[in-house]
């Protein structure tokens, strides 16, 4: 019996990108989530940042001050809590980018060490 051959379902071929897995290049679509993924950046411990918005309450260090890992640098209020910001390394304060009463945003560099 002769069968009528319908055209198979076509997919859009023009919009493929390539994805490399184990040295093999695959032609495929990418997802929004994959395209928007955050690329890894190594953490620079010399740049002291805050992880949440808040207010600077007290500052204990000045430019040129030698600090040890674990020393209190400043007190920062966020979510109704006073948080001690400690020095992540042994070093010297290069600059203090904030003053008492400043409102800071997420990921803002507040103190630079060297």
């Amino acid at each position: 019996m002769e069968t009528i051959k319908e055209k198979p379902v076509e997919t859009k071929r023009h919009s493929y990108k390539s994805l490399l897995v184990e040295n093999i290049k695959y032609r495929t679509h990418l997802t929004k989530k994959y395209i928007n993924r955050t690329l890894y950046k190594p953490v620079d411990e010399k740049m002291v940042c805050v992880f949440i918005p808040g207010t600077i309450k007290k500052i204990f260090v000045k430019k040129g001050r030698k600090v040890k890992e674990g020393d209190r640098l400043l007190v920062f209020e966020a979510m109704k809590m006073n948080n001690d910001i400690l020095s992540p390394i042994d070093g010297v304060v290069e600059s203090v980018n904030v003053k008492v009463g400043d409102k800071v945003t997420k990921q803002q560099v507040i103190i630079e060490l060297k």
Partner: protein
């Protein structure tokens, strides 16, 4: 009062109750494209099948002058009915009554219908449309949520639980849907989040709209909290009816069988769909449709982690759960989201006696720091756990690539697949030929006069020897190598002979899957 007057009194009371929050509140509800709670129930259930319970329940609030307020049905409608003849318990929060807020009596109505569903061993459908806890009732409102969450957990894996988000569902309230099996959302109507845009703005200074934070699209595409996306409520109700037709009423029985039908093989012909070059993509859903009755496939979480495809189809009238790598998206790799999505579905099918068919064609795991740091190890492990744990019939079809850890994870013989078949195009190997050749022949390639030429030659050598199904078949890891067009026949037979499959595992309270 005689019977006549008493009947008239009953009718008057019912009229009062059915009014809900009154004309004004109903108009407001309709103005934003939402149906009323009662309309929604009637639209989902078979005509005239709805039987309402607890219409005259009074709310329990006494503080803040609440005792002087009349809240019809306390803002939730509950009852039983049928969907295409399948019995279900159902409840719908009524936003027109005190914003659908959850008080003690409201929660009591919900937990009563949930208990009912457990006794009757039939699915429960919950329609969420609520501003949250009724603050005036204080800790009793919280107790109400807790009682619902506990029952959701107890009912999990016993009766199907379906959540429909048709309005706001915020704060603690989100955890009832999150504990259920399937979550339906509607564009522009559903809003789900733990903390709303206001709080996020105050605390974190991040500005975002409600839709972008927890709208239907976000939960279907990004978070994976929702399983079904619909443009409007009508489409959503249609999806619910479809789903109910595929699943059994409870975990002791199988899904209701349907009349057998053949696939539309003229439209979906496997040799026409699949490119021979393993690097070329195709839509794996077409392969599924080439196998299922009437080429029907009911996809779940279509928009989330589209690199794996999950959903229901029927084979010889019997419901089957499909798990398939999707070469069309991210080359079909396994990653955090796709492992999560696959694993949860496998556990669903296992709980509800739905055999699993796994279609394999994947290059491996998605490389990247973001993946590693997001915990692809523990998320990926969920897939291994779910497949190993599942005792329903497990049928695996290896179509093309099955490399490395991906091969093991995709229901290999080692995780106790009952039937493994491979197509002649299958490549079952420890890794892709390029990668393998680079390692095995590292020195030959490095020391060659023309390393690139040597590499090509060695890759070819490796491909010829290992990029096929016969090495695995020689060890018995593949039960049969079949022609692609025989796939349905293979699965039909596998299902026939495994109808009484029974496995008794080691005695334990429960395992500890990598949640």
């Amino acid at each position: 009062m005689g019977l006549k007057q008493k009947t008239a009194d009953l009718k008057k009371r019912m009229r009062e109750a059915v009014k809900g929050g009154g004309t004004k509140a109903i108009e407001k509800q309709k103005a934003i494209g939402k149906k009323t709670a009662r309309e929604r129930i009637l639209a989902i259930l078979d005509p005239k099948s709805f039987h309402e319970y607890d219409m005259f329940v009074k709310h329990a609030g006494t503080d803040f002058n609440m005792d002087k307020k009349f809240l019809p049905g306390d803002g939730v409608i509950t009852g039983t009915g049928t969907i295409s003849g399948h019995p279900v318990c159902i409840y719908a929060q009524d936003f027109t009554v005190a914003g659908g807020s959850l008080g003690w009596a409201h929660a009591k109505k919900i937990t009563k219908i949930m208990d009912h569903a457990m006794k009757l061993k039939i699915p429960i459908i919950g329609i969420n449309d609520s501003g949250g806890a009724r603050i005036q009732e204080g800790v009793n409102a919280l107790a109400g949520y807790g009682e619902i969450f506990y029952r959701n957990t107890q009912a999990s894996g016993v009766i199907p639980q379906i959540s429909v988000i048709l309005g706001p569902c915020a704060g603690g309230a989100v955890y009832s849907p999150a504990l259920t099996d399937f979550v339906f959302v509607v564009d522009g109507v559903s809003k789900m989040f733990i903390t709303g845009p206001e709080v996020i703005k105050t605390v974190l200074g991040e500005e975002i709209s409600m839709e972008d934070l927890g709208g239907a699209k976000v939960h279907c595409e990004t978070t994976g909290n929702a399983h079904f996306y619909a443009k409007d409520e009508e489409e959503c109700f249609y999806q619910i009816k479809e789903l109910v037709s595929f699943i059994p009423w409870n975990n002791e029985i199988k899904a209701t069988p349907y009349p057998k039908k053949s696939p539309k093989t003229k439209k979906y012909n496997i040799p026409d769909i699949i490119p021979a070059d393993p690097r070329q993509p195709y839509d794996v859903r077409h392969i599924i449709k080439a196998i299922t009755d009437d080429s029907e496939f009911f996809e779940i979480q279509e928009l989330f982690a589209a690199n794996i495809v999950i959903g229901f189809g029927r084979i010889s009238g019997q419901t089957v759960g499909f798990v398939a790598n999707q070469p069309l998206v991210l080359a079909g790799v396994l990653d955090v989201d796709s492992s999560d999505k696959g694993a949860r579905f496998i556990r669903y099918c296992d709980s509800f006696n739905i055999p699993l068919v796994t279609l394999v064609d994947l290059p491996g795991y998605l490389p990247g720091v973001d993946q590693e740091h997001a915990g692809v190890i523990r998320h990926g492990a969920k897939l291994l756990y779910a497949y190993s744990e599942a005792t329903v019939p497990k049928i695996t079809v290896i179509m093309r690539k099955a490399y490395g850890g991906g091969y093991i994870a995709m229901c290999s013989a080692h995780l106790r697949a009952d039937f493994v078949c491979a197509w002649p195009t299958a490549e079952i190997a420890v890794m892709g030929p390029e990668g393998a050749a680079n390692i095995i022949f590292r020195n030959e390639i490095k020391n060659a006069e023309d390393p690139d030429d040597m590499r090509k030659q060695k890759v070819k050598e490796y491909k010829n020897k290992f990029a096929n199904p016969y090495v695995a078949a020689a060890y018995g890891y593949v039960d049969a190598v079949i022609e692609p067009f025989e796939t349905r026949k293979f699965i039909v037979h596998a299902l026939e002979v495994s109808d009484h499959k029974d496995i008794i595992g080691p005695k334990k309270k429960h395992g500890i899957p990598p949640f």
